[in-house]
């Protein structure tokens, strides 16, 4: 051999990537599109193909690249740009020097696919394009005599763009069900969809194929706003292998409610997840707030992530039950209230918001109260995802050393403990059940620890009360042995038939009477 030359060493090993600038799309592709590769963007009209391609193109040229946007029988360039002007990513200053538009339809009409290919080759080199977008590929498909001719065109285009290192996006209208020829010819396929789940419009991005790299294939919801497109990767695939962030030995996280903490042998283990299960009004939210308050008193930061009560109402609620310093810790920022307004939410966006906030705060021994699981459940369009979703979310929180309480509602009037998501108890370490028991026209609140993984606990059922002085847990409630089946009835023994009123009821009555005595008589005005 005389003078063997080295090959293109740049192609060896890790392939260079093209960042898209589309939030979380590069997370799905684990680093961005592969430079010089070609990708099909498929989807019905209105699904966001043009917005997505433009968002990528603007990002690309704003970061040193050059883009060529070729249209084939789509809306006019002027109309397209007018629609895009409202988007935050739009930047007129890069047009036409860095982002150049040409229409290829005339060339296609007069010289067919060969002429179009030649025009693209010349334009791409002339403009030194590092990103090529071809919008309206259905027109090119129409001009091909069949799928084979079209595939041949795609192959020739791909070979060319690969040599010049120009990443290519091919946009085609597509309806779910048929498999367009480009899916086999290109390096990657992203399908956008728009459908109705009840009254709600759902947009999704499906990563069908991504050659040359690991990726998170499958469906991911996306949002389009004037900020552009945001992709929300499925939580359960995002955190399938979370990194552990060890914070040293685990500690006990108390509620500050003496007998409850004793039953928990000092409190919940840090980094654990706990389900507070109970009917509406049993005190789940108050117990959760008590958990955050106790943490704050010990200097541990806390986050309330709720769906139903505003910050103001929560603080009033806390103040009304002996947690007067709750507001102080909120004002100091030790307790943060993350209220999700009653809008249509996206399940994965909620998880992202929660995890990102925790990540941003970057504090140790964080306490989190999610009030409630139902808020997440109502945000999903795939109920069958919930178990995997919560399992992944809980695992991620655990790895971040966050001690989490989830509240979950059971039916208000049911003798059985029917959790809306029965398998929820499998992905949490601890389950605390709060219940009402009706006995001789009186309602009693009962609390029991049903499960506590990795720790000893007292399984006795205890009565508890919520008064304006706080939450108090009593000794084991001896007459409520049948509470879990909801059949708490009198055994017939004389002493049991003289059941005391519920805890706190007496003092509440006394206070009411004292308050009434203090109150001045109402002065009636004579007419």
């Amino acid at each position: 051999m005389s003078s063997g030359q080295e090959g293109d060493s740049g192609r060896k090993g890790k392939q260079p990537r093209l960042e898209t600038g589309v939030p979380r799309l590069d997370f799905i592709t684990k680093g961005g599109l592969i430079q010089g590769a070609s990708y099909a963007l498929l989807g019905p009209p209105g699904s966001g193909k043009t917005v997505l391609a433009h968002q990528i193109a603007f990002w690309h040229v704003q970061h040193g690249g050059k883009a060529l946007y070729v249209t084939l029988l789509t809306e006019s360039h002027a109309r397209m740009l007018a629609n895009l002007e409202v988007m935050a990513f739009f930047d007129a200053s890069v047009i036409p020097d860095k982002l150049h538009y040409i229409s290829g339809y005339r060339q296609l009409e007069t010289e067919g696919l060969k002429g179009l290919l030649e025009m693209i080759r010349r334009a791409a080199r002339q403009h030194q394009a590092t990103l090529l977008v071809m919008d309206g590929m259905d027109a090119a498909k129409e001009f091909a005599r069949g799928d084979l001719t079209y595939k041949r065109f795609l192959q020739e285009l791909q070979t060319f763009v690969s040599i010049i290192g120009c990443t290519t996006l091919l946009l085609s209208p597509h309806y779910t069900g048929d498999m367009p020829p480009e899916t086999t010819a290109v390096d990657g396929v992203f399908e956008l969809s728009l459908w109705l789940s009840g009254p709600r419009a759902v947009r999704e991005l499906v990563a069908l194929k991504f050659r040359g790299s690991d990726s998170l294939l499958g469906k991911h919801e996306l949002e389009i706003s004037d900020q552009g497109i945001i992709v929300h990767p499925r939580t359960e695939v995002q955190f399938s292998a979370p990194q552990e962030r060890s914070e040293g030995p685990r500690i006990r996280m108390a509620f500050g409610v003496p007998r409850l903490d004793e039953s928990l042998h000092g409190g919940l283990l840090s980094g654990s997840t706990t389900l507070l299960l109970g009917a509406p009004g049993t005190g789940k939210t108050l117990l959760g707030l008590r958990f955050l308050l106790e943490g704050a008193r010990q200097g541990q930061p806390g986050v309330y992530f709720g769906f139903y009560e505003t910050s103001q109402r929560l603080m009033e609620k806390a103040e009304g039950v002996g947690m007067g310093d709750f507001k102080k810790y909120v004002d100091e920022g030790l307790i943060e209230i993350q209220w999700q307004p009653p809008l249509e939410h996206n399940l994965d966006a909620l998880a992202e918001r929660l995890l990102e906030r925790i990540h941003e705060r970057n504090v140790k021994r964080m306490r989190l109260f999610v009030d409630s699981i139902a808020g997440f459940r109502s945000a999903t369009v795939y109920p069958e995802r919930m178990s995997r979703f919560f399992s992944a979310l809980s695992h991620q929180l655990r790895m971040m050393d966050v001690t989490t309480l989830y509240s979950e509602e059971t039916a208000l009037f049911s003798p059985d403990v029917d959790a809306p998501q029965p398998d929820a108890t499998a992905y949490v370490e601890n389950v605390i059940l709060l219940r009402y028991v009706e006995l001789r026209s009186q309602l009693y609140r009962l609390l029991s620890i049903m499960k506590m993984r990795e720790s000893q606990y007292d399984s006795g059922i205890r009565e508890f009360s919520i008064t304006n002085e706080g939450i108090t847990v009593a000794e084991t409630f001896e007459s409520a042995e049948a509470v879990l089946t909801g059949h708490a009835i009198l055994a017939g023994t004389p002493n049991k038939s003289r059941r005391k009123p519920p805890m706190g009821a007496k003092s509440a009555k006394k206070k009411k009477a004292a308050a009434a005595a203090k109150r001045k008589p109402v002065q009636r005005r004579r007419s």
Partner: protein, 120 residues
């Protein structure tokens, strides 16, 4: 004008190289195998041959060998184009350069300009 002979059974690659080199100012002739290439040598009288290795009818090494046995083209610069490094082969066919597929535009142009420089 310098003439480049591109020999590759993958016509999309041959056509892409043709398009790029024509833009640079070269005259480009494409063939799909070694036998075709040998047949058109006399007519085209190339200044450079870019030859793929794995081709039907006559592979790249055989084609180079045949070119070397043709007196008029015994010293024709040849750029080997292959996914496999030709240095792994025990034979030497006196090629002037190697383009590893897939190759970049820079690598292609650097090698072509070096082996068949255009007049200033």
């Amino acid at each position: 004008m310098k003439t480049v002979l591109v020999v590759d059974d993958e016509t999309d690659i041959a056509e892409a190289v043709k398009s790029i080199l024509e833009d640079e100012g070269y005259k480009v002739v494409t063939c799909t195998n070694g036998r075709e290439a040998l047949a058109c040598l006399e007519e085209t009288r190339p200044d450079l041959a870019i030859i793929d290795v794995m081709m039907p009818v006559m592979n790249g090494f055989e084609t180079i060998q045949a070119i070397r046995h043709t007196e008029a083209f015994a010293t024709l610069p040849v750029l080997i184009m292959s996914a496999i490094d030709p240095s792994v082969r025990p034979h030497a066919y006196d090629w002037a350069g190697f383009l590893k597929k897939p190759f970049s535009l820079d690598n292609l142009l650097t090698q072509v300009h070096k082996l068949a420089p255009l007049a200033a």
